[in-house]
């Protein structure tokens, strides 16, 4: 991971784009880990179909990653001859094979490590200069460690001269435009702050923890606070409390935590308390696969509450969109006094990517509040918009009791059908009448084939459709960002003239497909392309489906 991070930063400094996906086994510290990397001179949002090079310092437990690292006859696989033969699971695909004695070389440079030799080899293979790598190394190392590491990188570059050539990244990126090196979890944290969040309570959970670790110091610099709660039940109830107090509040978790939070999400719906819950999805159900990605929480996010409980669900569609989507979620939650779930995933959250700095968006928390001594104040007043001004503690003359029981306009518990119906109606109305603008989805391309997707599948879909277009096949992409409330009219418009719809998602049962079938009218023939995590859906698979269909 260290070598991968340095390599990515060096590529970024060189003006390239790139990303690094983390894949690690179940060990707490050390053990096997793979940095899956891709570089380009243009922005990229997903891994490619295959890898040009696989470099292993050793091959311990390599079978755990084999499926995640597609290798073919034009790939090169490099290993340390002292660590045994190249693994058969890769050799069987017929790649070019080569050896570099990483451990021996590192031993020859006191204080250096094999992974820094590997860094030099990898950098040389993709076409970076030794100086580009060294300048990054100088930022994070000092003294003897620096000298040893620089020598190791140098040795790696020298060793690479004898290796078979691999495709190199040609050309420079956009150069002048400001770019960031960021993970989706950091981006979501920054989006939360930009949206106005000033209170966070959370319980550590993979793969969401880094978002909290980034937010903890950042919040304290902006007049906010982060509390580590005793469990997820506490964390969500804490943010409900903070938000009741008038402070925009958020928690971040993953599937198991979201499952525990569903009760209080319902409370936030009923009591009309704005909160934001970021769900960085991982493999499920139960403890599942903690450190690997899957889009398996669509059901629970969109409909996993008891009672009729409308809520907002926003799914970021790229690493950098974690920023804008989270910021938007804060805005929507505050504007409509409703819980908003941000459906991110391990791929988006933990992938570090070189991205263009996104344009500033102005959505910040705006809550309609009650004025002091407002005449005949009713917290849950039935209004045309469905939104009732919220009295913030400290405001005189308008105290009320926030209520999770069915209540009347004043918030007094009621079991009468009329009160229940009026409040259900109001809470549905406020979400329906809100103007979500163009941000509800990304709509690209044209043609009578459409691919409908969401979240981290958007990158592969976009890339597949670009390839299809290069080959003369036009298709549309609709990547839905606003999963809830549903926007059937908008999707119908986006799919006008479409004869075939391919639904792409990363889970076993087709949760997104069923969600679309339940709440939208999809035109023509509909096919579902899906697979459970942690294997990503590759651009080539989507491309082939589209091409095949275009010929049908």
């Amino acid at each position: 991971m260290t070598a991968g991070n340095i390599l990515l930063e060096a590529a970024a400094q060189a003006g390239w784009y790139g990303l690094m996906v983390r894949s690690s086994g179940p060990q707490i510290r050390g053990g096997e880990a793979a940095a899956l990397m891709r570089f380009a001179s243009h922005p990229i949002e997903c891994l490619d179909d295959r890898f040009d090079a696989l470099i292993g310092i050793d091959w311990q437990n390599i079978h755990r990653f084999a499926d995640e690292i597609p290798i073919d006859a034009s790939s090169v696989v490099i290993g340390d001859p002292d660590q045994g033969n190249l693994p058969e699971i890769f050799v069987k695909h017929g790649p070019v094979q080569a050896g570099v004695p990483f451990k021996q070389m590192a031993k020859a440079i006191p204080g250096s490590w094999p992974n820094m030799i590997m860094l030099g080899v990898a950098a040389a293979l993709v076409g970076l200069t030794a100086e580009a790598v060294k300048s990054v190394v100088r930022k994070s190392h000092t003294g003897k460690a620096l000298a040893a590491t620089l020598a190791a990188v140098e040795a790696g570059f020298a060793a690479a001269r004898t290796l078979p050539a691999t495709p190199r990244v040609l050309g420079l990126g956009r150069g002048e435009a400001p770019r960031w090196l960021i993970t989706g979890n950091e981006a979501a944290g920054y989006g939360a702050l930009r949206g106005g969040v000033r209170f966070v309570a959370a319980y550590p959970i993979t793969p969401a923890t880094e978002m909290l670790e980034w937010l903890a110091p950042a919040l304290s610099e902006f007049g906010g606070a982060l509390v580590q709660a005793e469990d997820e039940l506490a964390s969500i109830n804490m943010i409900v409390g903070a938000s009741f107090g008038g402070v925009p509040a958020l928690t971040a978790t993953s599937g198991p935590g979201l499952a525990l939070m569903t009760e209080a999400l319902g409370l936030a719906v009923a009591a009309e308390v704005p909160i934001v819950v970021v769900d960085v999805m991982r493999g499920g159900p139960s403890t599942g696969i903690p450190a690997k990605s899957e889009q398996g929480d669509v059901n629970i996010a969109v409909s996993g509450l008891h009672g009729d409980a409308p809520r907002v669900v926003v799914a970021p569609n790229s690493v950098v969109d974690c920023l804008t989507a989270t910021q938007w979620a804060v805005h929507l939650a505050e504007a409509m006094q409703v819980p908003a779930i941000v459906l991110s995933d391990q791929f988006l959250g933990q992938t570090r990517a070189v991205v263009d700095r996104p344009a500033d968006v102005s959505s910040i928390a705006e809550r309609e509040t009650a004025t002091a001594h407002a005449d005949g104040y009713k917290r849950y007043a039935i209004t045309e918009s469905g939104i009732s001004p919220m009295a913030i503690p400290g405001t005189p003359g308008v105290p009320y009791t926030a209520e999770g029981l069915v209540h009347n306009e004043r918030g007094v518990p009621s079991s009468q059908s009329r009160d229940h119906a009026l409040q259900l109606d109001k809470r549905e109305r406020k979400l329906r009448l809100h103007d979500y603008g163009e941000r509800w989805a990304e709509i690209e391309g044209e043609g009578d084939i459409a691919v409908v997707t969401f979240g981290s599948c958007t990158g592969p879909v976009r890339e597949a459709l670009a390839r299809a277009e290069e080959n003369g096949v036009k298709a549309r992409m609709v990547s839905i960002r606003l999963l809830s409330p549903v926007q059937p009219e908008r999707l119908a418009k986006a799919l006008e003239g479409v004869k075939r719809v391919l639904v792409v998602e990363q889970n076993y049962s087709g949760q997104f497909h069923r969600y679309l079938r339940a709440d939208y009218e999809l035109p023509g023939i509909v096919r579902s392309l899906r697979r459970p995590g942690p294997l990503p859906i590759r651009p080539d698979e989507i491309y082939r489906e589209v091409i095949e269909w275009s010929r049908a």
Binding site: Y190, A229, L233, A234, G241, G246, L267, G394, P396
Partner: protein, 278 residues
């Protein structure tokens, strides 16, 4: 409203709302409500600056019976909700109220961590050793041989000792009160609110419907025969050996409350982009 009126002291009566409680006639919780509002008046608080947070159960209905800001949340989570509120809004006086089932059973973990975290909250538990709202099931403080439909012949389980637990978990202020003595309870609550940090007040509040024998508590309670201590070892011995009817402030310390500083922003948000900029 003029400033003069706004700053006039608020009477105990003015802290009571016009919402009619759902409680049974003779329920101890009526007196607790009176004690609470008396304590607010004694401290010169204003309804808009007080928040009463609760969970689910008979006693958890109490917020709406005050004219303060109230939060009637989900079962067992009131302490968490109140923790978030107080940390985000340290200017408010925050009370948490509930019953023995809400606080010691479903909310047990939050009880431990609220004691330990020591946020400046006052937690009053109206303990009647029974689930009243669901019509008479044993709670953690119910005697092991108490017969009920759900646990015929009794649970056979030893009772939970909330004061000992609170002390072990780090509560800064521990008291026992009796609803039948509204003035004494008001004094204890005022002391609890005034004392910084997490203050825990266990109030014996009879359920005359499902535990009519608790009418006898009036004869059993007595003022604790010893003065308040700040020595946890001494407090532990007293609490663990008393018969559950000693009334008064049993432990009071001066541990610093947990309150992350919510200073002013020292930077522009865009300064954070230095973390990511290439």
């Amino acid at each position: 409203m003029s400033t003069a009126i706004a700053s006039a002291p608020v009477t105990a009566q003015a802290f009571k709302s016009d919402t009619k409680p759902i409680w049974c006639p003779g329920c101890g919780d009526y007196s607790v409500l009176s004690s609470m509002t008396k304590a607010f008046a004694m401290l010169g608080l204003r309804p808009e600056n007080v928040a009463v947070v609760s969970g689910i159960g008979c006693s958890s209905r109490i917020p709406a019976y005050t004219t303060c800001y109230g939060f009637h949340g989900v079962h067992g989570r009131a302490l968490a909700t109140a923790t978030g509120l107080k940390i985000a809004r340290p200017d408010l006086t925050v009370l948490v109220a509930g019953g023995d089932g809400d606080g010691y059973s479903i909310g047990g973990n939050h009880f431990l961590h609220a004691c330990r975290r020591n946020v400046d909250l006052t937690y009053l538990v109206m303990d009647n050793h029974v689930y009243g709202m669901t019509k008479g099931q044993p709670s953690p403080t119910t005697e092991s041989d108490w017969d009920s439909k759900l646990s015929p012949g009794g649970t056979g389980l030893r009772t939970f000792h909330p004061l000992v637990i609170a002390l072990a978990a780090g509560a800064n202020f521990i008291a026992r009160a009796f609803s039948g003595d509204p003035n004494g309870t008001a004094e204890i609550l005022a002391d609890a609110i005034r004392t910084p940090g997490f203050s825990f007040v266990e109030i014996l509040s009879p359920c005359v419907t499902f535990r009519p024998e608790q009418r006898e508590w009036k004869q059993q309670v007595r003022p604790a025969p010893v003065a308040t201590t700040d020595d946890p070892a001494r407090a532990a011995r007293r609490i663990i050996t008393d018969d559950g009817f000693n009334i008064g402030v049993l432990y009071k310390s001066s541990r610093k409350p947990y309150q992350p500083s919510l200073g002013k922003a020292t930077k522009r948000l865009t300064d954070l982009e230095a973390d990511f900029a290439i």
